[in-house]
Structure formats: structure tokens, C-alpha cells
């Protein structure tokens, strides 16, 4: 049943090693993608450029500005002297936030009346705008509470909410996004490794010669899978190292589980590539076919948008791509040190998918011409 397996492995390895430039690219591109997209998806907005128009200038107003700076979200880029200047700074893109403190800020506060601090926010960058808005509100709330507590003479406020975020205490988006990104990038690069493996030989005419040999179908398919599996392992290791040491995402769970489940994912995804290769007649078709799987991997796998809110049909499509399960496993192991019972269901689905796909690929591949 595996007739010719070793010969195919030998040949494919030769192809890979004969072309070190391509091999290098295969190993480097996933890391490059992770670096670029890793920074792109890093949604923590720090150091929002901010200008201040302080008409008061006394101690209380300076304290308020310090509160803004101390959150870490705002970076004061300068002081302005007029409303027009404040507006211009934002329109010109020099700042995304402008804070205007009225001349009577300190006086109003001391007299126990309500004062207004104006915050101009550039809404064209929705992420930073939202962050600035929330933080601004929180600062105002805290400042008010402090003053209230002081005037009431209460040592502490009666109810204090102390939320504690588990697993990712600093709420670093990198910790959440980067493992997902690893899953998506692996889906793309691993699948493309094998998507061309057979169709290329169809185009070159070498497949016809192979079909007249006694090579078995499974031998041919697995022979193509194994060498690219090794390349895939190399790619995974480099990407995980980058995640750990460049993005400083700690791996909470067991490396052994991580390795085991990653192998299952590699098997499934390489098989999917081979299936595409057997279903198509040329490399263009194979590429188009790949996009059919890659797009849902990006959008529906839970990498970008939570799956819980998706319409049923869309959700089901998302459940059909390996990346969905792999991302679930990656986040489980990396963020939560999830127990094996929580990981196994996804792992089993992945494995079943892989076996089904490679079976179809093998059966679909005929040693005769159409």
C-alpha cells in the first residue's frame, strides 16, 4: 500500500534541499509575517499623542494632567495657547487628543461646584479614540470620587469593585492575539507548502511518467507529506520562539501538549494542501482554491472576531477550517494551561479531519489520465 514511499520522500527532499533559497524563504516568511502582523494586531494603545490647553495652570490642574500621563495611555506633546491652536494640532495629526482645562478649574472645585474639563478626541482612529474616551471618563470619575470622599469625610467609599482578569492579568492584547495569529499564519504557510506539490508535477508532465510506475497512491501522497511536514515543524518552532521572546507571550501550559497537538494540525493542514493539489489542474487553480480555505481561516476562526456572535451559518463555516481548532488549542495551552480534557475535543476533530482529508485525497488521485 505504501509502495514507492521512500523513493518519493527521497526525491521530494532532494527538490527541497536543491533550492536552499526557497527553503530559507519557507522558514523565514512565517516569522516575518508574525513580526509584521504581530505588531499590527497589537491593539494596546499606549502613548496617545496629546496636547494640553491649560487656562488654569495651578496645582490642581497640573495634578489632573499628571493623572492622564500616569495612566500610560497619554503622552503630552506640548502645550497650546488658544482654542484654534488646540484644534489645529488635532486636524494636523500632531495629536489625537486635546485637553482643555478652564481658567476657573481650581476655584470651582474649591467652592464645591461642578467644573468641566474639555477633551477633544480624533475619532478617525477608532481604537485610540475609544481608549482615550474610556480612560478620560475613568479619570474624571476617580477625580470626582476623591473629592467627594474628602468632602464627606469618609475614609473609604462604601463599595469598591475590584475586577481581576484571570490568565492575562495585564490585559495585554498581544497575549491573546499573537497565539491566534500563529494559528492563522501556520494555516496559510503550511497549506501552501503542499497545495502545489502534485499540481506542479501535473504541469511539468512528470506526473504522467510517475503514473506509469508501480508507485502506490498512498505512497505518493505520504511521500509528499513527510518532507514538507519537516519543513512545517521548522516553521512552527521559529514562529513559537518569536512569539515567546519577541512578543513576550509566556507559554503557561505543557510544551509536550503543544508539540503533540501541533503535529496533528500539521498533518491535517498538509493533507488539505494535498487534496487541493489533486483536485486542481494547474497552480493558479490551486491558489484560488487555497483562498477558499484561507479567508475563513482569517475571518471565521475566532482569530479576529469572537465566534459566539456569528450567525449560525457563518459559525458552521468557521468550524470547517483547521485553524479554528488549532487557535483554540494554542490559546488554551499558551494562555490558560488548559487541562488535556479541554484540549482533546479540538485535537480529535483536527485528527479526524486530517484522516478524512488524506483519505479523500488518496482516493481522488488516480493513476490514470482523465
Amino acid at each position: 500500500m505504501l509502495r514507492g514511499l521512500y523513493a518519493i520522500i527521497y526525491k521530494e527532499s532532494r527538490h527541497i534541499l536543491r533550492d536552499p533559497k526557497t527553503l530559507f524563504l519557507m522558514l523565514v516568511i512565517p516569522s516575518l509575517e508574525l513580526t509584521i502582523f504581530g505588531y499590527a494586531v497589537n491593539l494596546d494603545v499606549k502613548n496617545i499623542p496629546t496636547v494640553v490647553y491649560n487656562l488654569d495652570g495651578r496645582e490642581a490642574s497640573r495634578k489632573l494632567i499628571d493623572t492622564f500621563v500616569n495612566t500610560g495611555y497619554f503622552q503630552i506633546r506640548g502645550e497650546v495657547g488658544s482654542d484654534a491652536e488646540l484644534k489645529r494640532a488635532i486636524v494636523a495629526g500632531k495629536a489625537k487628543v486635546g485637553i482643555k482645562i478652564p481658567p476657573d478649574y481650581t476655584d470651582t472645585l474649591l467652592s464645591g461646584r461642578k467644573t468641566q474639563v474639555q477633551m477633544l478626541i480624533d475619532g478617525s482612529d477608532s481604537t485610540s479614540a475609544l481608549q482615550a474616551l474610556n480612560t478620560g471618563n475613568a479619570i474624571a470619575m476617580l477625580a470626582s470620587l476623591d473629592i467627594l470622599a474628602e468632602t464627606l469625610g469618609a475614609a473609604a467609599l462604601p463599595v469598591e469593585m475590584r475586577p481581576r482578569v484571570l490568565f492575562n492579568p495585564d490585559m495585554k492584547t498581544a497575549n491573546f492575539m499573537v497565539p491566534g495569529l500563529v494559528g492563522v499564519i501556520m494555516q496559510v504557510v503550511i497549506m501552501l507548502l503542499t497545495a502545489f506539490a502534485i499540481v506542479r508535477e501535473k504541469e511539468q508532465g512528470t506526473l504522467e511518467q510517475l503514473m506509469v510506475t508501480p508507485v502506490s497512491r498512498l505512497g505518493l501522497i505520504l511521500g509528499k507529506l513527510v518532507p514538507y511536514g519537516l519543513v512545517g515543524i521548522g516553521e512552527t518552532i521559529s514562529v513559537l520562539l518569536l512569539m515567546r521572546f519577541l512578543f513576550e507571550v509566556p507559554i503557561e501550559g505543557s510544551l509536550l501538549y503543544l508539540a503533540g497537538f501541533t503535529l496533528v494540525f500539521l498533518f491535517t493542514t498538509l493533507s488539505l494542501g494535498l487534496l487541493i493539489s489533486t483536485l486542481t489542474d494547474n497552480q493558479i487553480q490551486a491558489l484560488q482554491f487555497s483562498f477558499l480555505i484561507l479567508l475563513p481561516s482569517f475571518l471565521l476562526s475566532g482569530f479576529m472576531f469572537p465566534q459566539e456572535t456569528m450567525p449560525k451559518v457563518i459559525y458552521v463555516i468557521g468550524q470547517c477550517v483547521p485553524a479554528t481548532y488549532f487557535i483554540h488549542i494554542l490559546r488554551g495551552i499558551i494562555l490558560r494551561d488548559a487541562p488535556i480534557e479541554a484540549l482533546l475535543p479540538s485535537g480529535i476533530v483536527l485528527a479526524c479531519m486530517g484522516i478524512a482529508v488524506i483519505t479523500v485525497a488518496t482516493l481522488r488521485f488516480h493513476k490514470t489520465l482523465a
Binding site: 527538490h15 508532465g205 504522467e208 506509469v212 510506475t213 508501480p214 493513476k367 490514470t368 489520465l369
Partner: protein, 326 residues
Amino acid sequence: MSTETYPASPARPTIIKAVDLTRRFGPFTAVDHINLDIEEGDIFGFLGPNGSGKTTVIRMLCGLLRPTEGAAKVLGNDVTRDSEAVKRSIGYMSQQFSLYGDLSVMENLKFYAGIYGIPRRERAARIEEVINIVGIGDYRKQLALRLSGGWKQRLALACALVHRPKLMFLDEPTAGIDPVARRDLWNLLFDLAGQGVTFFVSTHYMDEAERCSHIGYIYYSKLIVYGTPSELKRMPEVTPDGAIRLELRAGQIAAAMRCLNTFPYVLDATIFADVVHVLTEEHTEQRIVDDLGRHGFPNASVQPIPATLEDVFVTLSREKERQRNA
């Protein structure tokens, strides 16, 4: 000439037997009820113009394409039911170069030795053997894509020989290679045939046909002749009763041929390089020279010749063409 007239000698086993082998692609019939009977040790030359169906026949005999109709046995195995057994026992060189260009000569050979399941212990010796047969020893480390056309074909032949097949299918092995390499390749085929390998070689070079022990000519999907070269040349359709073949030399042969075609007793005239082959009624040698002299070709001369294979194919193709148009 059909298969019945081809004398089957009981001493030599049949290697390929095709009965009404037919292949359609949609409404188009690429191969139309072909019968073949090829015996051990034959060098069967499969001739026909481009697009006549040669590759399609070879693919069916190799178990690569399913026949739409009819059946064929190759080395005793049915090409449809036992296609894997067929594949194990034959060697095949496809029409376009189909080895791996980025692998060296040696790596290609190792790969095919592995694919054909040559036991590990024997592999090195077997590879050396085929390297010696095709004489590619100086190029062991050369990447296949850097070989010249002739050497590529030798490498392909070596790869197809590595499991010592008793039957080789070569689809236009000499297309696009230089004349010296062509002759060398044919000499190689004769050597191997001498060792008992049967060959099925397609080509559209007429001169190669002369070298084959048997010839089939396929024209518009149909096998229109089949036999040994001498049998073909003696075919009554080629030189009918009461007709003779003459080789004619004249000053301007193109004009002379046009003139010949107006003579009622001339059956056919075809230019071959600087002469015209004329099929004409018996005892008209002197009349041709006289008539041509009257039409302004004073120094025409004729001499009787036997039919060449090219005469055979041209005559029969014309005949078929007339039938198709009728």
C-alpha cells in the same frame, strides 16, 4: 494489409494484443478500432502525422488511459483490469521530457530504482548497468535540465530500463534531437532489441520507419497499414496490378510534375527532394519521356524503382483522403 496476413510464428509469444481498441474524447474519436499483434523481439514503429492518435494508443497500452471500447493485453495483462501489473512490467518514455530537471542524473536513476522497488542490495549495480547501457557515465552529477536533448533522452531511457522491462514504449523519442543523437539512440534500441527487449516506438520520421521490424501507420485515428517494411512495399494498393513505379529526373521537377498529372496514364506523382516518384501504367516508360519532351522537358529520364515506405504512406493516405471526401 491487415493482421491476418501478417504471419504469426508460433515460436515467438505475443507481447501486445489489441482488439478494436477505441478511445473517444467527447464526440471526437481519437483512436478508432485499432488491432495490433506485436511479438517478442519486434521493433514496432508506430507512424502517423501529428494528432493522428499515436500518443493516445500508447497511453491506453500503458494503462494510463481507459479504452472507451475494445480491449488490449500487454504481456498477458489486461490494460483496463490489470493496469498496475502492466505498469510494473513495462518501460515508458513519454513524449515530453518528464524527468526531474533539478535532480542530477544519478538522483533521477536512484529515484526510479526506488520507485520500481529494486531491492536495496542490487540497486547500485543495476544503476551502473543502465548507465553503461546508455553511456551516460560522464554526466552522473549533472542536473538533468542541463543535459542536451540527446542526453536527456538517454537518461529517460536509462530510467525506463532500470527495472529491466521486457517491453518498452517510447513516444516520439527522437523528436527535436539532432541527427547524430537520433542515429545513436536508434543504435541503442537495436542493441537492446538484440537482448530480447520488445519496442513500441512512435515517430513521424519516415527514415526511422525503415529501421523497424514492423510498422503500423495510423491516419486520422485509424490504423491503415500494418506489417513488415517489405510487406508494405509489396502491397497491391501501393503498386496496383498493371502499374509500375518510376523515378523521374527532369530540369524543373515542379513544373514537370504538374505536366505529368495531365497525362491520362499517370496514376500518381510525388516529389521527393530532386526527383519525382511516378506511379504509372506498365510499359509507359518511353511514352513519359517522349510526352515530357514534347511539353518542353527535353532531358527527362526515368528508371524503375521499388516502392519506398514513404510511397506507401503517401499512396495510402491519399486513398483514405479520397474515401473520406467521397
